[in-house]
Symmetry: C2
Subunit: 350 residues, 2 copies
DNA sequence: CCAGAAGGTGCAAAGGTTTGCAGCAGAAGG
DNA sequence: CCTTCTGCTGCAAACCTTTGCACCTTCTGG
């Protein structure tokens, strides 16, 4: 039933190769012929069969996107941006979910490898050497993790963390807690490192609690430990944890920000809708999604140089130039942070 | 570089057809041979080329999923469930986003048609006749819309609406406002119809305001109109609108639920995290995602009956039996609803 | 001991497209 | 008028897999 290139060829009185060229290399065919072919194709409802095209070109025009948890509100904006960017370049995106499981990650890379031109690996939980190995099997762009020698897109969460700590110390907080994220997260390590460094210079005490699952439950469970530790301010691995924490503190009868200040990281939509509105380090997730797609496709352009008949893919040893993109974060001060209880803060806001 | 069926055949000393059968019809090949082949395949890192397979079988083992807005928190749980269900059946999912634009919907169906075995059309905004027409080009399962003659998965939002209205009238509310959703939404029409019917039997006044975009802004903007109308309770098209509305009311100095009650629909995760926690009609979105995948794949099974050599797809006129699934909704009472101001309610709660 | 079945394997065509090469016509240059 | 070039088109192989059919061997039952 579906019209093939052959039907179009017959209808327009040309050879199938001419039809093929009309679509994949229009400049090679006479304008008159081209228009005739296009008219016939339109009329027959012809659409190129991507499987057949993929079979011979070796390019599927598909991209894989692997995320830890689609339902985690951090990811949808990224997915959305990536999908949109890809579509503009005539690519489609497979989205898959690993349930935060490193083993599933590896399986998925393999499963997708043969039917995509490249994979966007988002906030991976597996270790670097495995990622490097996988990147030899299929073009990979890693998001939210820096790996030397691989194309990566990361957010400058270290600077964001520093700003957050500064913000808190300025408000007079001298004992800050850090609620860490999941094991295996590069971002988590960055935050811990940055927080440790930032508090060393001042007289601030830092209490680190974790790892925690990156969900509101993760934050909720730690509420007691926070108060027990005596911190007056908390920086959280992400907004979800922060929101769960606020909820937990609230149940203990503590008020945010009067009794205790809370800062999240990410700036998911949700953070503007809770009460109090969350102070947070905004991550440009949409930009990250777009950048990753661009990097993958730009690379893909490089790779697409055919080496003679059938030389569809480059040799594995190919050392291509890898780009590393770092995106800026921004501290967004809202209502969940305030002066430390009892602290005297000079509020010269000029 | 990537190993093909031919490499495996050579390595294990059998014909390529035997290798093929080892993977696609294992019971037809001698266990000894099979193991030898599998060992060689494993050793060579062979993975079947899906494009080639798709080319000859006509089945891509891919599913398209078209949603209005990935970033709308209603969808991710559905996407996640669908993806997981599909993966268990060795299918992958293309996710695309229409930005609430009906024209994009149509384009996407066409773009996806040739590289998927079927499409899940989620909360479509286009009209029924167009959907029916598209369903003749590619297997379609429609979610959140009832169309006679097509396989559909809907939530029984009418019953949910009735329960919500009952809940409000029981609390003594006599003037209820309904904040409608976007134009073209089947769910929106259902809610309006059910609300109108439910209020007619009692002495309740119903004020309908809309259409509104299904976002928190949509609700926020209507806050003034609600108070102006004088309603003491509001049922919203979805939780996002409800949350935006509460925010807007709050800015007017009104307190929820003391001054005014608000009910949402969907029960997105967020609804449990706002303050006050939202009373809402819970929709089983994950179940819907799974059901839709099942329906599509079951149908697909039907269709896969090859008619002789190369008869890969059924004729278009094929009148297959279509299933219609309706999932139950549930009223979840939380903190955003309470007695109408001044109303005397008998609180016999045992 | 023979007919027939059953189990396992090989053969080759087919699926829709891309692309290097060859061929052809007409134009440009000498 | 002959060459050379350019612009366009046709030819056919190749991409990798699936599958109907035919063939061969071994086993079963009579």
């Amino acid at each position: 039933m579906p019209a093939t290139i052959r039907d179009v060829a017959r209808a327009s009185g040309v050879h199938i190769s001419t039809v093929s060229r009309t679509f994949s290399a229009p400049h090679l065919v006479n304008p008159d012929t081209r228009n005739r072919v296009l008219a016939c194709a339109e009329h027959l409802g012809y659409r190129p069969n991507r499987a057949a095209r993929a079979l011979i070109t070796g390019r599927t025009h598909n991209i894989g996107l692997i995320v830890a948890d689609i339902a985690n509100p951090f990811f949808p904006p990224l997915i959305k941006a990536a999908e949109s960017q890809a579509r503009h370049r005539d690519y489609h995106i497979f989205v898959t979910d690993t349930n935060e499981d490193p083993a599933v990650e590896e399986d998925l890379v393999h499963a997708l490898a043969k039917q995509v031109d490249g994979i966007l690996l988002c906030s991976p939980r597996m270790n670097n050497s495995l990622i490097e190995q996988l990147s030899r099997e299929v073009p990979l762009v890693v998001i939210n993790r820096h790996i030397t020698g691989l194309p990566t897109v990361v957010m400058d969460v270290a600077t964001g963390t520093r700003h957050a700590i500064d913000h808190l110390t300025t408000l007079g907080h001298t004992h800050i807690a850090l609620l860490g994220g999941p094991r295996g997260s590069w971002t988590n390590r960055e935050i811990r490192r940055a927080a440790t460094t930032a508090t060393r210079t001042t007289d601030t005490q830092l209490t680190i609690l974790g790892p925690n699952p990156p969900t509101e439950h993760g934050g909720h469970h730690q509420a007691e430990n926070i108060t027990r530790a005596g911190a007056t301010a908390v920086l959280c691995y992400n907004d979800l944890i922060a929101i769960g924490l606020i909820e937990g503190l609230h149940q203990q009868g503590l008020h945010v920000p009067t009794d205790i200040s809370v800062i999240g990281i990410d700036d998911i939509t949700l953070s503007r809708l809770t009460r109090p509105k969350l102070t947070t380090v905004a991550n440009p997730t949409a930009a990250a999604g777009r950048a990753a797609v661009d990097m993958l496709l730009q690379h893909d352009g490089h790779w697409s140089g055919r080496i003679g008949r059938g030389g569809l893919r480059t040799a594995t040893g190919d050392r291509r130039t890898t780009a590393q993109v770092t995106l800026q974060t921004e501290l967004v001060v809202r209502d969940s942070t305030g002066p430390a209880p009892g602290a005297v803060v000079s509020e010269d806001k000029e």
